[in-house]
């Protein structure tokens, strides 16, 4: 391959909401030599198929559709003259930050990056991963695939729909399919609570009279060629189907909204350490992964509920990547800092390490909870001392939570060993 290797200050893998916000922020932080690599034929990522409104309430104080929200960032990137390549899929990232990509236009190309921002997003957990018994006919779709068929291609995946899983895309698709003329029989959720946002349950199910069956799951798929029916049973506290509760739902379509998985195959190839809980990279206060100069943000880091938080997080990652390049690797080999430990109902935190010397004055630590908690306190401990204690009326796994750490607090404690975020009843 007699091609020269390019050299760019910041390479951003993915041109969705995370990649765009990171690129803009890196530029605003003073690094103008930026390249965004996007595998799709346009920028904007999954937002392009999210034609419903409700995006941007936090960021822009108005309700935008997905494409409108993306357009704000695409336009800003254009104003700044940020370079991007479409139809270009990154196929390898080396620990030395050599990025290899492939496209129809240029074949295989390689870029040596001063810093890399990982912003590849996530994928849906497929039916196969649930090992749901039955046949494997046409008409079983993950909700996002169905969303693309309906919202981009204008095609109806089916007429009579059952949805398994109450993740946000499933809830949104329950409403969308109804609006397009299909009948949605029900949404079955194996957990005793929904994995989606409360507002989506109200606006997408309740408003359309679509039942949400909590503690229920699909136990069998019928139909050799095309879905003919699914069987739904109630589950016990161990999530096992309860004998005798099976009900047959005749339908031609089963949609799945049973979880999103950060897409980290490239990160693994680069040697990035992955958290078994989030399935995303383990990062420090600057959203830097275990590989120096490689940062992560958005759904590739951990699955978000609102795109506004993706943008916010990605802006931090972009600025930090720019700072990394500016410092010309002057930093010594990163000591990973003080661990942030998730306990008592907190499933994980992002970041999971903090160096007080290197952090900004305020650092948002995001997390998700493991169950539905009512009237619980979110507490932050520096070693054994509780420094924050805030009551929340309700917390649910479907909604992301956060605490803010102040640099001054951390620096004030000498010999700090660990920061703990946990839920407490009182």
């Amino acid at each position: 391959m007699a091609k020269t290797i390019e050299r760019r200050d910041v390479v951003i893998v993915g041109g969705g909401p995370a990649g765009l916000a990171a690129a803009i922020s890196a530029h605003e932080a003073g690094q103008t030599d930026i390249l965004v690599l996007e595998r799709d034929t346009q920028l904007g990522g999954i937002l392009n198929q999210c034609i419903h409104n409700g995006f941007g309430l936090h960021t822009f104080k108005e309700e935008l559709t997905g494409p409108e929200y993306a357009a704000r960032y695409i336009e800003r990137a254009a104003e700044l003259g940020i370079e991007y390549r479409l139809g270009t899929m990154v196929i390898d990232i080396s620990p030395e930050r050599l990025v290899t990509a492939v496209s129809s236009a240029d074949g295989i190309t390689q870029v040596e990056a001063g810093a890399i921002v990982l912003a590849m997003g996530c994928r849906e957990r497929p039916r196969g991963a649930l090992a749901t018994p039955g046949y494997r006919p046409a008409g079983v779709y993950s909700a996002g695939t169905a969303q693309r068929l309906v919202n981009i291609e204008g095609q109806m995946p089916g007429r009579e729909v059952v949805i398994l899983g109450s993740g946000d895309i499933g809830l949104i698709m329950a409403r969308r399919m109804t609006l397009e003329g299909a009948h949605v029989a029900c949404v079955a959720e194996i957990m005793p609570y929904s994995g989606g946002l409360k507002r989506n349950i109200v606006q997408c199910l309740d408003d359309f009279g679509i039942p949400l069956l909590l503690s229920h799951t699909v136990t069998r798929v019928e139909g050799r060629d095309r879905v003919e029916a699914v069987w739904i049973a109630e589950v016990d506290e161990r999530m096992q189907p309860i004998a005798g509760t099976e009900v047959r739902y005749p339908c031609d379509t089963l949609m799945l909204s049973v979880g999103l998985l950060p897409e980290n195959e490239l990160s693994r190839d680069a040697g990035v350490q992955i958290s078994p809980v989030t399935r995303g990279p383990v990062v420090d206060q600057s959203l830097q992964t275990s590989v120096r100069g490689v940062f992560a943000c958005g759904n590739v880091l951990h699955v978000h509920d609102l795109v506004d938080y993706v943008s916010e997080e990605a802006a931090a990652a972009g600025a930090n990547a720019a700072r990394f390049v500016a410092q010309a690797q002057a930093e010594t080999e990163a000591d990973r800092g003080i661990p942030v430990v998730a306990e008592g109902g907190v499933r994980y935190t992002v970041p999971s390490f903090v160096s007080p010397q290197l952090m900004d004055d305020r650092l948002t630590v995001r997390f998700r909870v493991a169950n539905v908690y009512r009237d619980h306190f979110v507490s932050v401990y520096l070693d054994d001392e509780r420094i924050q204690h805030r009551k929340k009326r309700v917390m649910a796994p479907g909604e992301m939570e956060s605490v803010v750490l102040r640099r001054a607090d951390l620096l004030a404690r000498e010999g700090l060993q660990r920061i703990t975020v946990k839920l407490e009843e009182e």
């Binding site: 496209s103 090992a131 018994p133 095609q155």
Partner: protein, 508 residues
């Protein structure tokens, strides 16, 4: 008038077609499904068996060992993924050691080379994840793994390149015998042929009966010696096998095919890498009545999960990307049924091809092709090309090689299936080969697109578009696997009545 009609385009039918294409005769394969490899051939363990299982002297033993040897040759000639990784039969109890000896002796009687019993220490070196209970194993270096879809497709393509015709969506519905010839109605078309090969998988007993029922008294003669099948036939019992397929992240969990030596507690399941880098775990063995019941069951999958732990530690079942079930064409005598139906019938059975049918397929192809070519009196062609080049797989190439392909055809640079890294050029190639892919699953069998960890979540709409473009289909005509499995049913709002005022031709 054909010389030969082969009923069934599974691995046996396609192997026979490929071998018959060496001969100067006209051959047509009729298949009820929309593609090759749609029945038992697509849902099995994908193993190249060494040949120590079958009863010495049986047709199964002979064809397994011969098929094993031919498989690695054919894989090279036909550019099929195949890996002689070797297999291990693991003994998990000192009490059962003698069983390993029995197997070794049986294998040697069958002509399996290089069998050796290894002790725990050596076994652990070969398979670090082997069960703590494992005491010894039978090592069969000629065992291996193969791509069953790729093999069947490759044999079909090679047969087609040498003049064999394929008719899909063509179930045999009626048969007549006249003037020493067969009239076969397949897919509504009346076809004539001198000889028929019944390679109909789990339906081979029904197809046998259908043809035998059309024989006149003059055709039938008492069974003679050699490979002759009596007219009264046999009965196929579909035996269901359920499997887990794990992601490539689990593909290195074992390096060889791990079988369990059957114990008093029963038979285990196999754990094996696949040629696509996944880990396969299964199968169960449950006799069922319905020849279409390729559905998985909660009980079957639970059984596989439990039994996998008998030989291999910590099988990462959470990495499952799909589960599936296949039906083996079992018959009670547990041997292949291969030969001409008694008398001057021109009817050849290739039936009850259960495990090790995939391994045996090259040998089965040769055996039947010789018989049938003899019957129709077809000499070998002076020139015959037994080689075939597969679809280039960009994920297997170096960056330089991939780049070179992109320079030749930019569509190699457009990655459609991100999980398995399959480019648009590969999918287009799969569609335009003969016989070509016309459905999502047909493309999966040829390229492995949609077979990755997202199971087609991202690439399904893209592949649908390519099928529409290349074959001039409407979106509603694109199927998962042939008629009845359409992927979309119409357009948005097409069933919502327009408001009265908007109705075309409505009253003013």
């Amino acid at each position: 008038m054909y010389d030969v009609i082969i009923v069934g385009a599974g691995v046996s039918g396609c192997a026979i077609a490929r071998e018959l294409s060496r001969h100067d005769c006209s051959v047509c394969v009729v298949e009820r499904d929309e593609d090759v490899c749609c029945g038992t051939s697509k849902a099995n363990s994908a193993i190249v068996h060494a040949g120590f299982d079958a009863e010495p002297g049986s047709l199964m033993a002979q064809l397994n060992v011969e098929g094993n040897r031919l498989m690695y040759e054919w894989a090279r000639e036909l550019d099929v993924r195949c890996d002689q990784c070797g297999s291990l039969v693991v003994c998990v109890s000192e009490d059962d050691r003698e069983g390993l000896e029995v197997l070794r002796r049986r294998g040697e009687a069958n002509g399996v080379p290089d069998l050796r019993i290894i002790e725990r220490e050596e076994l652990l070196g070969m398979e670090p994840n082997i069960s703590d209970e494992a005491v010894a194993a039978l090592w069969a270096p000629t065992g291996g793994i193969v791509d069953p879809f790729g093999l069947t497709v490759a044999m079909a393509e090679n047969a087609a390149a040498n003049g064999v015709e394929f008719r899909f969506c063509a179930p045999v519905s009626d048969v007549r015998r006249a003037d020493g010839c067969w009239q076969v109605v397949a897919g509504g078309q009346a076809l004539q042929t001198r000889a028929v090969v019944n390679a109909a998988g789990v339906y081979s007993d029904d197809i046998h009966s259908l043809f035998v029922g059309a024989l006149g008294d003059a055709d039938v003669a008492p069974a003679a010696c050699g490979h002759v099948v009596p007219t009264d036939g046999f009965s196929i019992i579909p035996r269901k096998g359920e499997y887990y397929l794990l992601d490539t992240t689990a593909g290195q969990h074992v390096r060889h095919t791990i079988f369990m030596l059957p114990t008093k507690m029963g038979k285990g399941v196999l754990v094996s890498p696949t040629v696509h880098g996944n880990l396969i775990v299964g199968p169960t063995a449950t006799d069922v009545e319905d020849k279409e019941s390729t559905d998985t069951t909660a009980e079957g999958l639970a059984e596989v999960a439990t039994k996998s732990a008998l030989t291999v530690k910590n099988v990462p079942l959470r990495e499952v990307i799909t589960t599936f079930a296949g039906l083996r064409a079992h018959q009670s005598a547990h041997d292949f049924v291969i030969g001409e139906v008694a008398g001057d019938t021109g009817l050849f059975d290739c039936a009850a091809i259960e495990s090790p049918g995939l391994t045996s397929s090259p040998a089965i192809g040769r055996m039947l092709a010789d018989m049938v070519a003899g019957y129709v009196g077809a000499p070998e062609k002076a020139e015959w090309d037994g080689t075939r080049t597969g679809i280039p797989s960009v994920s297997d190439l170096s960056f330089d090689e991939w780049d070179a392909l992109c320079q030749r055809d930019p569509a190699f640079g457009n990655v459609i299936c991100r999980c398995r890294r399959i480019s648009e050029a590969q999918i287009v190639d799969a569609i335009h080969r003969v016989p070509g892919a016309r459905s999502l699953d047909a493309i999966k069998r040829r390229t492995f697109a949609t077979a990755g960890r997202c199971q087609g979540g991202f690439c399904t709409p893209k592949i649908m578009e390519i099928l529409e473009r290349e074959l001039g289909m409407s979106p509603q005509e694109v199927t998962k696997r042939g008629p009845g499995s359409e992927l979309v049913v119409g357009y948005n709002k097409d069933r919502i009545a327009a408001p009265a005022g908007d109705a075309e031709g409505g009253e003013a």
